[in-house]
């Protein structure tokens, strides 16, 4: 079995570090008659017998021309894949249960259009692509995600039946691509925000009531907090400024492993936390995340949200 796996890897490996382009050469392309090809061949045999039996010279010619057309179709089917350059692209993270889309960049260096290229990952739906001559196109290979964590792109079968459908030409691709699958969120009410002036979080940093001056804008600050008038003084020489507030209910939401219902199993708690992170991000709150072994200090913004989701997704 192990030997078979080795053979399999040798046959179908990407033959690169998984990120460089590969070119489909003749060693990578397989071709066999399709079901309609077998039907066609059977029809030709019957037609040939008829032509012989009734001594139809033109019948012979027709059968031979059709056989020739079938052979040309085979060569053209092979040509439809031959010389394609495939480069692994990106794959945006998805939530478990959604469909991950692995992007491949397909480059057609020849002047002929490559039609009806069907990409299918092992479990997954096929995606069809046509690349015009000397053009590039992106194909997103859909793979359903089930569990949180890294989803490794399974072996992809790139096949085509173009032009006549009598032959299926195919090639196996195994680029080293993986997609981050976030845990499936579970919508539960957010825990109470602790209105604490946590030490080290900066005086009045997160308050929203009393104006306490300006500070330089950080990328994480929402645009609507920018003090446009103040920033525009001095002929626009100043950096963007953000109003700072002090006192009142300066809130920081601490999302902690312990806060999620301890009665549930681990996966459900991760789902609850994921739901909280999403909700907090939606409300543009300032929040921190504390997980067993990982602690993410409070912040806000999209990058912070992604970081939290990733930490949740990759919990052992």
């Amino acid at each position: 079995m192990r030997r078979f796996d080795a053979l399999h890897r040798w046959l179908f490996r990407w033959r690169s570090d998984g990120t460089a382009a590969i070119v489909l050469d003749r060693r990578r392309i397989y071709i066999l008659p399709s079901r309609s090809g077998l039907l066609f061949a059977a029809a030709l045999v019957v037609m040939l017998l008829g032509a012989i039996n009734y001594n139809l010279a033109l019948g012979h010619a027709l059968v031979f021309l059709l056989a020739g057309i079938g052979m040309v179709g085979m060569v053209h089917g092979f040509r439809n894949l031959h010389g394609l350059r495939l480069t692994p692209g990106r794959c945006a993270p998805v939530f478990a249960g959604e469909t991950a889309e692995f992007e491949l960049l397909v480059d057609n260096p020849r002047p002929l259009a490559r039609r009806m290229l069907v990409f299918a990952a092992d479990p997954g739906h096929p995606a069809t692509l046509t690349v015009d001559g000397r053009q590039q196109a992106k194909i997103a290979i859909p793979v359903p995600s089930r569990r949180r964590g890294w989803l490794v792109l399974p072996r992809v079968r790139l096949s085509t039946r173009y032009p006549l459908g009598l032959f299926t030409a195919w090639s196996y691709l195994q680029p080293e691509m993986r997609c981050l699958v976030y845990a499936r969120p579970l919508a539960t009410p957010l825990p109470e925000a602790s209105a604490s002036a946590a030490p080290g979080s900066g005086a009045g940093n997160g308050g929203q009531e009393d104006f306490a001056g300006f500070r330089r804008r950080q990328p994480a600050d929402p645009l609507r907090h920018v003090a446009w008038k103040a920033s525009a003084r001095d002929g626009g020489q100043r950096p963007l400024l953000v109003k700072q507030f002090a006192g009142g209910s300066e809130t920081e939401l601490a999302l902690a492993w312990q806060a999620a219902d301890p009665a549930q199993d681990d996966e459900t708690r991760i789902a609850i936390l994921t739901g909280w992170v999403l909700e907090a991000a939606r409300r543009q709150l300032h929040y921190s995340l504390a997980l067993p072994g990982v602690t993410i200090p409070a912040a806000s913004g999209e990058a912070h949200c992604r970081r939290c989701l990733e930490a949740l997704a990759l919990l052992p």
Partner: protein, 647 residues
Amino acid sequence: MSASDDLLSREEPPWLFAVALATTLPHTLHQPAWLSGLAGLLLAWAAWLWQRDQRLPGRWLLLPLAIGGCLAIVAEFGTLFGRDAGVAMLVLFMAMKLLEMRQRRDAIVVVMLGYFLLLTHYFHAQDIPTGLWLLLALWLVTAALIRLHAGRIGPGETLRYAGQIGLQALPLMLVLYLLFPRVGGPLWGLPQDAFQARSGLSESMSPGSIGELVRSGEIAFRVRFDGTPPARPLLYWRGPVLERYDGTSWQVWPQRRPAETIEALGPAIDYETTLEAHGQRWLLALDAAATLPAGATLDGRLSAQLAQPVEARRRFRLSSTPAYRLNRHEQPATLTANLALPPTGNPHTLALAARWRDEEKSPSGIVDRALRHFRNEPFHYTLQPPLLGRDAIDDFLFRSRRGFCEHYAAAFVVLMRAAGVPARVVTGYQGGEFNPLDGYLVVRQSEAHAWSEVWLAERGWVRVDPTAAVAPERIERGIAEALPAGEPLPLFIQRHADWLRGMRHRWEALNNAWNQRVIGFDAQRQRQLLADLGLPDADWRTLAIALSLAGAAALALIAALALRRQHRQPPALRLWLRAQRRIGVHCAPGETPLALAARLRRSDPASAEAFDPVVRLFLLARYAPTPNLYLAALRAAVARLPRRRSA
């Protein structure tokens, strides 16, 4: 493929309607009218549903329709199998499948049925127009198959691609056509309906039967002589010999005869004859047949016969000796049979013959006397003789005196027999027309003829053609010259249609080339071809090897055509390289065009003056947003460069 990909798109069904129409339409000429009507209705229904974008009918409607159609076919043909019933079933399936065409699978079945239906047209004709029509239909069917597998693609591109694939398939087709081992004859018994009624000579002759045949311009056979062809009056092509006369019609005597003895009096003439299918066994050899092809025999009356009826165009090699003596010593039984007359009837004829027998001393004198009679009395040669009464020979010889070759031959034989000279009627063809384009002698049904043979002691059976006595032009120059104007001859062979004749010669030479080279390529020609290629006595093993080698070569050619790389560089780059070659500089790796220009200004200021605009235009043509605007100027600038000094 997922389920949604397997459903047909909106643009695909019209292709399949066209496939169904193109492949079934020619069958309307041969199939029962109700079937054409039914298939047409089903096709129109499918197209209407498509046009209205409505759902196809369900099984509950299609199943009774299919069963009803099959029952009707059984009622029409008596079976569901066999050739014509099978074709009818295919047509019915094709039409019904259009109403069941939801998925790609169904459409592929329609295309395969279309390919199959193409073959069935050849049951009826294999001529050039059929070949051309079916080539067009094949193109369409292949385009439909491409359309089913190419996603979104325009009709023009589909057709162009189908044509390209067809052209690339030609070498492989040629290889297979020439080298695939040909099997002669049927693999299993041919059904009775494999052959249609054919026109040709029959084994009996009654007044008017040959006159009927003569009205047809169809070709009976073509002959190619190896050497000089014999003179036209010698071109007697012998069919059945009719010896039995019952008062109205002449028939072949079914009795077997001992083999004839033929003495050749001159050299033999070799020729090849290509018989059209006539449904009978007569070989129609030139008198007198000397060597026959395998499978053919003489029937004791010098008529060459084949073992099997000629049901398809066939080619034979023969030789004949136009000067011959036949059966100088004839069986007494044969002579008696050729003296027999019906016990009653034609009293005037018998009386005339009795008078001649008394007056002439020898049988040959009687023959001459009869020919003189035909020549001197006012006999007319016409295709439209008046009706004859019960004593037909009396009526013809003494009252109407108007008739056609069969009348003259019959009357002459009756006269001879009554005068005691053994005589018989020979039917066949006389003459023929040389096509000046390919040198073939074309013999038509209109050359059908009847003549006589008399048996004279020491000379054997001697041909006597009483028609020649009445209308010598018939033998010398052909039937169109012999008949008066206004006779109902086929348009093609009429006398004053010279412009038609030229066109006809061309068309027939083309058809003949098609028949001989394409249709007539059989096991024998294949062996000949291989012998010419240096593979004599090729058996199937040699053929298989030759076929594999040539097939692999053809496939390699196809692959080379399809997979050749296009190494063409962009035009601006090509011009840039040409400019460098022209003034003899080389852009070093890493050197920009501007740096090269600067270098050139230092080393060769004279060339640099002309080179500067080239550099400027090259950069524009290569990198400007609209590069094509500068190509013409760049080309002109490169052309203005001084030639490299021959250093």
